[in-house]
């Protein structure tokens, strides 16, 4: 059995890779893909901790997996709305460059 810290380290690496993508990519779609990567890194950490806490009983073990299930549903809703926003932006202005979408900025 692989110890939990290895999974946490992998999750941290994936999360940082996703953060780099969010910070450095300019196309809104690529930023979105990187956000998905970060979401999945968090899910990996939660599932690893759920296995670790299974020694405390079924209740503690299943809480983590139920949380991941809810996060998956939220991610699906987020992708639907986000891609809708992307399509709407692209329709109004042909580019999805996040550096040019600065109208909300004060």
């Amino acid at each position: 059995m692989v110890p939990t810290p290895y999974y946490i380290a992998l999750s941290a690496l994936l999360m940082s890779i996703g953060a780099v993508g969010v910070l450095t990519r300019r196309s809104a779609i690529m930023v979105f893909l990187s956000v998905e990567l970060m979401l999945n890194a968090a899910n990996l950490a939660i599932v690893a901790f759920a296995r670790q806490w299974s020694a405390k009983g079924v209740e503690a073990a299943m809480s983590g997996q139920a949380a991941v299930f809810i996060i998956l549903a939220i991610a699906a809703a987020e992708v639907a709305v986000g891609l809708g926003i992307l399509v709407a932006i692209f329709r109004n202005r042909v580019s999805t460059d996040v550096d040019e979408l600065s109208e909300v900025r004060l």
Binding site: Y7, S63, A77, A80
Partner: protein, 184 residues
């Protein structure tokens, strides 16, 4: 351990591909590889139901939606010079530091974690187990997620309507030629 190393290598390679590939389609397929490796990792973590959901919902539905939008928008892989020249190196450095910090903390400080000697409580993380937890202790969260999904669907439909929304109508009145051009 060997299996974990292989899975971690696939996931990290896929993640780096997401960040570095210039073509959005390549990046999306790279993310699919990462998500599938993550599903296999869930199996090794005794979360079989979540692994199935990961393949069906994430690698299936969500990534298909992404690929649809990428092909619909026809975004090319142009990556112009970044606005802020100092941003990418700083981003890489910060991410490396954060990952190193979390890793060191995870390996050094394990005091509050119980000993994971019995994984039997997970019982493979079957659909029955997860469903029991969802519908007993987390039924409120489950219902709220249902409302959220409904809201998301309504929002996505109203956003994606052609010329829908206040902003689109205003643009149409301002410059009809430009809007028609972007409508293709």
């Amino acid at each position: 351990m060997v299996g974990f190393i292989i899975l971690a290598a696939v996931m990290l390679a896929g993640g780096i591909g997401v960040v570095t590939f210039r073509q959005p389609v390549h990046a999306a397929l790279s993310l699919v590889a990462t998500l599938l490796a993550l599903a296999v990792t869930y199996v090794t973590l005794q979360a079989h139901f979540l692994a199935a959901i990961q393949v069906i919902v994430y690698a299936g539905a969500i990534m298909v939606l992404f690929l649809f939008v990428i092909m619909l928008l026809n975004v090319e892989g142009q990556q112009p010079a970044p606005h802020l020249q100092w941003l990418p190196p700083l981003a890489y450095l910060t991410a490396l530091l954060v990952a190193a910090g979390i890793t060191v903390t995870a390996f050094v400080d394990r005091s509050p974690l119980p000993a994971a000697d019995q994984v039997a409580a997970l019982q493979g993380g079957s659909a029955e187990q997860v469903g029991t937890a969802l519908f007993s202790h987390y039924v409120l969260a489950f219902q709220l997620v249902g409302v959220l999904l409904l809201t998301g669907i309504v929002g996505a439909v109203s956003l994606a309507q052609r010329g829908g929304g206040v902003r689109g109508e205003r643009r149409l009145q301002e410059s009809p030629a430009e809007t028609e051009l972007s409508h293709g």
